[in-house]
Structure formats: structure tokens, C-alpha cells
Symmetry: C2
Subunit: 245 residues, 2 copies
């Protein structure tokens, strides 16, 4: 019964309030518009909800209006599955490709997504709220129960200067394209992946990275990958060797 | 001298005519517009050319006009590097994501890119010429010397019915998300990767795939990846274990 209900409930929504058995969830105007206006759900319909903290829940529409509505939590359908402790750091590029990297990082299971400003980063501003919304959408779509946090733009040199001692760093340097560099014998635990900016790293950045004991250069083959491709490829290598794949 | 010339020549162009020492290359109207109108090159400027067959060449502008022009091949800067014998098969999805898959497949080093029509494929038509142009652009951008062929849309069941005996097939089935399935102990040689369509495979397709001795299911982790993410992730796993990375 529940299995078939949950199979039919194709819509997955992230909500900010904590969920629990019997919990009543008031809908915002936007959520009501999406569920009742766009998706044409009515009272009695089922949706899947997750709050990033208590897993996934089957919920039922108990009130449906143009400007609001209420859902009620029927029962848990999935426990919370946290991604591994992986940060994805990248230099923002053109809008569509930046959106893409955020979407892909959420799908691939990054715990935190960090736009960084490097010496050769062109774009100096990001819309953190818009990028966070992309991460939510990707989490809704990929069946995850966790939404990675998208941080504000931070300067790479400052991040490296205060780099946490226990966090290893895998970085992909397009100047080393074609060299046979792998993760090799590394340990699990907190990690970060840094995708080189499209203009490459500056010499100062490269020196700082070389001096960092926690850092390891990894090669992504003989062709120069765009930053968005490199992000997915690097996360694949990491997830397969050290993550939850 | 040449090294610095070739470093300054940032523009890479794919041309259809075969290249060679001293070879003269007449430019089409579009190419002339791009080089002289958009990129503002003039006589004496350098560009990098590749023809998909003889590697990469440094060429010099010898005539520059509004409607045409001529380049002359100075010398070879890279030998031809063929990608491994890998086909990427995928079911076309929304336009932007289909374009994206083709771009990524060229960057990641697929030798042939094959849109396939599955039982649950929505989009039944593709613009082969437009997709081929995306593959050319990606090859120009990634520094490769080869352009993968984008084939016309083919029916998956027909392809599987006539599957080449010596070609292994890695397929990614979202119904098996979360199972620990890897490439395991497989051999090099001709391979194909098949990305499951967004609507999933039909039972008939799944049966046909199971019956194929050359086929092997591979898991891409516990989250459901979009087809474009899955394409990059699957090619990463393959390239790392069996390809040219």
C-alpha cells in the first residue's frame, strides 16, 4: 500500500521546517502555486518531502488553495542519507555553466559547494541565493535527502592560508594535463576538490598549493576539460575511490 | 621560437581539408568572418589547425578578406592522437542537455557519439548537423586533434539486435541505483557506453540487454543522476580504467 503510494508520488519537495509523523506543513504561496496550479494536485494527493535532516516523508494534501495549503506527513519513506564530507570548490564562470556546476555537485553528492575567487577569475559576483535554489532543485530531482550548502564567494588565497589541517585537497590543474597523476594511496575523511579556473592558476596560487601538505594534484586525462566537465569527472574519481559509490 | 608562436596562437580551428607542410588553406566565408571579423586577426597572425587526420598545425594568415582568405601551414605542433575506440550512446533529451552531452563526449574522448531512440525516448528527431558542429567546437576547445562522428538517430533495439561480437557494452541503469556494480575485471578493446534514458529502459530493452553477453551493468552511486551527468561520470570511470587517462 505505502510502497505503491510512494511510487505514485513522483513530486519531491524540499521544505525548510522539520518533518515528523503526523506533522502539518503549511505551504508558501510559491509552493501552493507549484503543487496546485502547475502540477494540478488536489486534496488527497501524495507528495514526497525532505527537510535535509530527517530523511524523506510521504505527505498528503489536506488543504489546497490558490495562495496556500497544507500537507500532512504520513510516514517516513527514506532515512536521512548524508553525503560524504566533500567540499567542491570552483571559480565561477559563465552563468549557465556555473549553474550547471552547482546542479552537478549536488547530484554527485558534495556536502558543500564553494565558489572561489582566484587570481584569474573573471566573474567577481555570484547570486548565492540563486545558486542555492539550484542545489535544492538538484536534490529534489536526484532523490537525495540532503541539500548541500552553497557558500558565498570566498577568496582562494584566504581559504588556503587557513586550510583545515585534517582536510585533504584534490586539485585539478590544466597545466598538468596528460600527466599520469592519480589519487593513489590516500585516506578517507574530510576532503575538498578544487577545480582550476578556466584561465588557469596564477604562479602564486600554484606555489601556495604545492606548499600545502594536504594537497594532491590529479590528472583528468590528455584533453583540456571545461570546468563543468572537470567538476563531474573529479567528483566521479573521488566518489568511486573514497566516497559513497 | 615556434613554441612561443604556438603559445600565442590561441585560436584553434578544425578544417576539413588535409593539412601538411606548406599547405595552403582557403577559408570559407564563415571562417573568414570568424578570424578577421570577430577575432580581428590580420595577415601574419598565427592560428592552430587540425583536420582530424594529421594532428595539429601552426598556420599563418597570408590573405585576409571580408569574404575569404588564405592560411598557410607552417609546421606540425602535435601528432594525431586518436581517442580510444569508445562509443557513447544516449537517448536525446531536452535540446540544451543533448548539446551538452555531445560537447562532453567529445571532451572526454569518445570516438563516436550515437543518439539512440529507446522505447521511452520522447524526442524523436535530432539535428545531426547541429550536434556535429557542437562536437567540432568541443574538439577545438579541448585541444584534441580528432573530431568524433555524431551519427544519426538510430533505434536502440536494432543496434542491440546486430551488436558487434567484439564490442563490450557498459550500461547504466537508474533502476539499479545504489547497487555496488563496477566494471570489475574487463578487457580493453572496442567498447560502448549506453546511458539510460530519463524515462528508464522498458522491460523489453532490459531483457535484451541482460541477454547480451557483451553487456555489463555499472552503478553510478546512490543518487539518480541526470543523463548528462551520468554520461560524464560513466566516461570518467571507463577512461580511468580502460582508456587513455
Amino acid at each position: 500500500m505505502v510502497a505503491s503510494m510512494s511510487t505514485n508520488a513522483k513530486i519531491r519537495l524540499y521544505v525548510e521546517q522539520p518533518l515528523g509523523q503526523g506533522q502539518s506543513i503549511p505551504l508558501s504561496r510559491d509552493q501552493a502555486h507549484y503543487l496546485f496550479g502547475v502540477m494540478r494536485l488536489s486534496v488527497g494527493a501524495h507528495v514526497l518531502l525532505f527537510d535535509g535532516q530527517t530523511g524523506e516523508w510521504l505527505a498528503e494534501v489536506v488543504e489546497a488553495g490558490k495562495r496556500g495549503g497544507t500537507l500532512s506527513c504520513v510516514e517516513q519513506t527514506k532515512p536521512l542519507q548524508m553525503p560524504p564530507d566533500l567540499w567542491l570548490m570552483f571559480a565561477p564562470i559563465k552563468k549557465a555553466r556555473t549553474d550547471f556546476i552547482v546542479e552537478k555537485a549536488a547530484e554527485m553528492g558534495a556536502a558543500r559547494i564553494m565558489p572561489v575567487q582566484t587570481d584569474f577569475t573573471n566573474s567577481e559576483r555570484i547570486r548565492q541565493d540563486r545558486l542555492q535554489a539550484h542545489a535544492v532543485e538538484a536534490a529534489e530531482q536526484c532523490g537525495g535527502t540532503f541539500v548541500p550548502e552553497v557558500t558565498d564567494l570566498q577568496k582562494l588565497d584566504r581559504l588556503l592560508a587557513e586550510w583545515p589541517e585534517d582536510r585533504q585537497l584534490m586539485f585539478c590543474d590544466e597545466a598538468r594535463v596528460g600527466e599520469a597523476l592519480g589519487l593513489g594511496d590516500v585516506s578517507r575523511g574530510p576532503w575538498a576538490i578544487l577545480i582550476g579556473p578556466e584561465g588557469g592558476f596564477s604562479d602564486a596560487e600554484r606555489n601556495r598549493l604545492s606548499a600545502l601538505a594536504q594537497a594532491r594534484v590529479v590528472s583528468l586525462g590528455p584533453r583540456i576539460l571545461r570546468a563543468d566537465t572537470a567538476a563531474v569527472a573529479a567528483m566521479t574519481l573521488w566518489q568511486q575511490q573514497l566516497g559513497d559509490w
